[in-house]
């Protein structure tokens, strides 16, 4: 196989500077939102004592998931022997690490006391999924960077080994993230052994979809040629992941709906016509699974455009899926007295209100922007992009 030379982006064009400026400005807005939450307390968010986890947790697990797809694409060449994908391996490994850094930021800045960042390192609780994930995530970021370093050194043997380790570690990271919710017995919409595997599946679908978009845009804006067949192949992977996601979601919801004790909860989630059932059907099922599958399977005309459009839908749909994992399970009250109607001053027995506050929305947008800001900066300073024949130069 032809040896690939990697180069850094020149990064002097007006378009590149403008992109950095926009992402940087959005990142600053996000940090300002985090500072506001820290200064004033969490009452500036939509969170309450009934719904203590809000949009920052949604963003965090979303970013964790997106990271998986990047890593798998990076490993396609080094671990799974698909050399065609080697040009993407560096970019993808970098993005896997950056997305996870974004996830960690979204979790930590959402703490009531983010200045106690060192406490979890000194006081661990091996039974806590948060404590375990803290270790898994940190190690994962480190593994991704060492893996990337090995690629820079062009040490193929080491790259292969580290790639394998990274894939194995990603399985742990994503299982652990699903377990944060799945292991909670107190909430009927959380408690499910299927959450870890379905978290992995949705991670692969959303991550692959994101990489398709990122690769397309990066190469286009950098004025480099990209083998469109590779993107279409990734689109093929995406359809497989979507089928698995659909199957797991179906099994989980059928299981829950079958048992009468869960009728009320399932009715609330699926058929009540509230915003959660809307996000479930239109966002998660429609955007996340059905429409992209129809687009990918529907016809063979304009395959690249179809792949890109389907990917964009999946990236949006999985955000809806993450929202459905985190929020409705808390909005439904805990059932302290089964079969009884409960009234109290503390919203017992009441379906709680939650909506994403502007501070939280800016927070989420800011962290995602920061991830891509770092990505764009890294492209300029490190040899991450494959050298290709220059195509029509647009922005670079």
């Amino acid at each position: 196989m032809k040896k690939i030379r990697y180069v850094a982006l020149e990064g002097t064009s007006g378009g590149y500077i403008a992109l950095l400026g926009a992402l940087g400005a959005l990142s600053l807005c996000g940090f300002w939102a985090a500072w506001t939450m820290f200064q004033n307390g969490h009452h500036v968010t939509g969170m309450t004592n009934s719904v203590p986890w809000g949009f920052p947790i949604v963003v965090a697990i979303y970013l964790v998931g997106l990271s998986a797809g990047s890593l798998v694409i990076s490993a396609l060449s080094s671990v799974f022997g698909k050399d065609d994908f080697k040009p993407f391996s560096r970019i993808a490994a970098l993005l896997a690490a950056l997305l996870l850094i974004g996830a960690l930021m979204s979790i930590i800045l959402d703490w009531g006391r983010p200045e106690r960042i060192m406490v979890p390192f000194f006081h661990m609780n091996p039974r806590s999924m948060f404590s375990l994930n803290g270790m898994l995530y940190s190690a994962y970021v480190a593994i991704c960077f060492v893996y990337l370093w090995a690629m820079f050194k062009e040490n193929e043997k080491l790259v292969k080994r580290l790639g394998l380790l990274a894939v194995f570690w990603a399985v742990l990271v994503h299982s652990g993230t699903g377990a944060i919710f799945g292991f909670v017995g107190a909430r009927e919409l959380y408690h499910s052994p299927l959450l870890p595997p379905s978290f992995i599946a949705a991670a692969l679908s959303s991550g692959t979809a994101l990489m398709i978009l990122v690769l397309y845009l990066t190469f286009k804006w950098a004025g480099k040629t990209l083998d469109e067949n590779l993107l279409k192949q990734l689109g093929g992977h995406l359809t497989i992941f979507l089928v698995v996601v659909a199957y797991l979601i179906l099994v989980e919801n059928l299981t829950r709906s079958y048992w009468p004790a869960n009728y009320a909860a399932q009715d609330f989630l699926l058929f009540s016509g509230n915003k959660y059932s809307l996000i479930f059907w239109v966002g998660m099922v429609g955007c996340g699974i059905v429409f992209p599958m129809m687009i990918l399977f529907g016809s063979s005309a304009r395959p690249l455009a179809r792949t890109l459009f389907a990917s964009a839908l999946v990236v949006a749909g999985v955000l809806a899926e993450r929202y459905i994992i985190v929020i409705p399970g808390q909005v439904l009250p805990v059932d302290i007295f089964p079969g009884m109607k409960v009234v109290s001053d503390f919203q017992d027995g009441v379906i709680a209100e939650y909506s994403v506050s502007s501070a939280e929305a800016i927070y989420g947008l800011g962290i995602v922007s920061f991830v891509f800001f770092l990505y764009a900066v890294a492209l300029k300073f490190f040899e991450l992009m494959p050298e290709t024949e220059p195509s029509k130069r647009e922005d670079a």
Partner: protein
Amino acid sequence: MSEMDRRGFVKAGLAVLAGTALGNGITLFQARAEDGQDKAKTRWGLVIDANKCGEKCSECVNACRTENNVPLFGDPRYDGHWIRKATITPENVEGGKSTSLPLLCNHCEHPPCKHVCPTAATFVRHDGIVLIDKHRCIGCRYCMVACPYKARTFVFKNSEAWPNPDVPKRSKGVVEKCTFCAHRLDKGQTPACVEACTKSGEGAMIFGNLNDPQSEIHRYIKENAPHGLREDFGLKPKVLYKGV
């Protein structure tokens, strides 16, 4: 040394070791162990007789607010609640009898809040009380998600009021809940809610040492068989209810 004794000794030793290793975080309360509660000399518990609890009475709630400076912000989404009054009515009986009762931290023998706490800020004291080390809590709120009794509240805002200096001043960004008035127990008093309930003449609360066969609570449990809420979860709550 019998087998049980040896096991108890090893556990106590491990608890001491853990306490030493985690030492500098402990400022409010000392010693921690989830297991061995049943063998401890003291294991605090509370029985609530809902038949005696007055629907209009909220003396326990008021006493708790005064004792522990639990803040009201005038917004039900953020108000602190260490103990709250609830009224329950059967769902499928038209005009069914309603029951009034207080809800508070159940100080479970297997507390899910403790299990999920990433920094082990939530711990079980030697006498079975589940406590939070607020100097170690990072405010991640996982415990609030994991508690099936909604016993925990987050400090959404700073509150300047600090009428009772015997309890630590609260600051925003951490999770808090009922302590069974550990600071009062350590002085030989009963929890503020129990004292208020007795004073008000309702007498719906019996507090005491579950491990002392001579105690009133022990006798009451033997004769009346109160039960914990959602015992199907297996958490073994130490707040038991009669007439629910």
